[in-house]
Symmetry: D2
Subunit: 253 residues, 4 copies
């Protein structure tokens, strides 16, 4: 069970709603993913209408929304976007996304920390998108973040986990949930993140950009479960030398 | 559906039966894995008794047995072991395993090819354990092998796929099924192998050596399915630069 | 030629002076490295004596000193250490090192930025030790840093470059010199960093901790040159498929 | 000093002569590389003229020639090419190259072993191009090969060392010299191979295909020396945790 702030979830997979080729495919992919948390960019939503049209498409399910502040380049912009979301009763959860560079879409560490601090103070449930720097994750936790969302690699790049060691250290040193966000390209990447001890995964492009998004959503759902079970089951350690699985004598035959 | 020689299987996961701490755990792990093919070393089996005791433990399921020639250092020894298996009506499938080095347990390419040729001639369904060399896999296929079983890394090492490129090339250039055998350590490794296009996975130590073998068996079962679905779903390509998942405008909001 | 602030250097290799088993070996390693910049922790130096004893050992050469603020956990502590160094006329260059975690010795991004800003204002030549985060490196540059020193992996770990992609992006997006600091374990690591476009390397443990530190210092000196030349020479691009080096026909035979 | 059969060499870098854009650049690159061994495809040489024209270009130096059997697809073809080379007094050394696949140019293990055995019997100094399979390398050594030449990755691919573990094992288990051949793309790759314990490197495309082949040849020459020295100097072991290079107290300061 994943707990973020006051909320609990059975699923450890969060899905972004962007860039699907049709609302039908989006809706089927969401269903196949078994996700309970949907994310979307606040700037894309018409906040004057109390319930955005694309969210209506997903009405069948019982989702919690995690709007993000994509497009913000400063803490101030992120905070402003988050306040609008709250005012429109969309959600009191927010993914803080303050981009530091347009080409890489990597987060700005200082502005992200500043926005996190401010939004925590204002009573939001705050999940900042951050780098894989374990120290910065700790600072975000100290600032009151309810979870941290380190990127595996640049948003939409599909490169998987570029630095598994730092991600593992970050997970070990962070007390709030760690949701690996950005860069996951395939089910194996998702499983690997979970095996490192991540509490959850956020995906978008890897599903929406697949040739068959619905099948990929199902694959990711299974991979997150597989990785989590693998983490709990305690994997064998790696050895340079071989070790016969067929002993000459053994307890079992 | 996996087809090897005249046989078809729903499951793409084969499980070795060695080194479990008890027959109960072995049996539960086998069940959790949903495997239909069990492997074991012929030298461990008392071939005078028509049904070996450890196989009796697994009677509940409907398994096909894939005995291996572990311990053989020459084609001659492997052939002799395989003939005994057939004589005892245990199975007409055989995993040819001719070890070329005691420390690494890596296969001997020349003797493996020789044993494969001989056993194919004698009417066996032959699955040779081989390196990740695409050329050798092709030679084994030409010799009549019904599937090839390249190692991801040394047996029992848990190092995962050391050379994904050669494994991918091997899979692309081989027409018979490719079962990745040896070295898989975690669900992510299993998913990765399936995403490269493997037709199946053979595991033993990664399950039997896990802290909780039954849970790991379940994790592996899910990972193989996730990886296969991911392969079929067509993953996004990797990019060095980022790509926003929240477009400023888009079909679906 | 490497330019940092007002200074220019022929060598692109900086050497730390800690943990050598004897001053003789230290001195010979320094010589073999052909370095022109030596670093050391300010807390190790008796700043009351105008010329520290261990620096006297190195008198033969014409070195510039780059004292670091190792041990500092806040910007304030780092600034205080740097001021002492300047007051004792040791150097006006300083490597800002503000550690955010005792186990990993990874830098604190916020305090590092703060200390950098302050020391630049006070007229120091400032080289902050930082993570491989390209955005943070840019912020340090904007704060006036004269060079940035991203870690390849944790200090003294010898793990090499954990995230070559981010290091490459960092180098491309940073206008001041980039000196890869921390984590280099072998000559190949040093060459790789230089091939990614780094302006220089700072080493300590990889040399002082080698079985033969003097020989390793020479190896590193050659590797830095090799990597730099390789960078300048423009390497071939990587291809998945093979490409014969022996064409059937060709200009040159 | 590198010893292969009866010959000794100061340089551990062998250079292929193919695909240079001009004989001038080829000649300068050869000089910058400090190589003592030049390789070329026998099929490219007019063996009726006792001294091939392109070899004349290189007359200034004192080189030993290592002709290869590129183009051969069977042991028989390789043996025939080698005999022609010997008959024309070009060299009694031969690099056995029997390709098993036109796309990957990976070697055929069985035919390579067969050709090696035959040519050893006929008195050649035989260096077979082989995969990174440690068992096959051992079989080649047992067949009398005077050195083995495992590929790091496909010929001309510039992918570097795809499987450092198997290359390391191969080097440890092989008694004759190991020359890493094929796939090296940059100086860091060359240094890495040497650090794994290789006795030498053979390069072609990485130099001839570089933007500045002469400078790259020099870079490779330095990298091979750096890697060899690094190997001899005994690198530090890798650690997951950090280790301060600035101890609070220490022998030296």
């Amino acid at each position: 069970m994943l707990k973020i702030g006051p909320y609990t979830f059975q699923s450890r997979l969060m899905l972004g709603t962007g860039k699907f080729s049709s609302t039908t495919i989006q809706s089927e992919a969401v269903k196949a993913s078994e996700t309970e948390i949907l994310t979307f960019a606040l700037r894309r939503v018409d906040l004057d209408s109390p319930e955005p049209s694309f969210l209506e498409q997903l009405k069948g399910g019982d989702f919690r929304f995690l709007p993000n502040t994509a497009g913000a380049k400063t803490a101030e912009e992120a905070v402003r976007l988050a306040r609008l979301a709250k005012a429109s009763k969309l959600s009191d959860m927010v993914k803080v996304e303050v981009i530091g560079n347009e080409d890489t879409l990597l987060p700005d560490p200082v502005e992200t920390l500043k926005a996190t601090r401010q939004l925590v103070e204002e009573g939001f449930i705050v999940l900042p998108y951050t780098s894989d720097d374990p120290v910065l994750a700790k600072r975000l936790e100290e600032a009151g973040a309810h979870a941290v969302m380190p990127g595996a690699s640049p948003i939409g790049s599909g490169q998987g986990i570029l630095n598994p060691l730092y991600l593992k250290i970050l997970i070990q040193q962070t007390s709030v949930p760690v949701i690996v966000d950005a860069g996951i390209g395939s089910p194996a990447d998702a499983a690997q993140a979970m095996e490192l001890g991540a509490d959850g995964i956020l995906l978008n492009t890897a599903v929406s950009g697949a040739e068959d998004p619905v099948r990929m959503a199902q694959a990711m759902m299974l991979a997150v479960k597989a990785g989590r079970l693998g983490y709990e089951a305690g994997r064998i350690s790696k050895k340079e030398t071989a070790s016969a699985s067929s002993p000459k004598e053994g307890l079992v035959n």
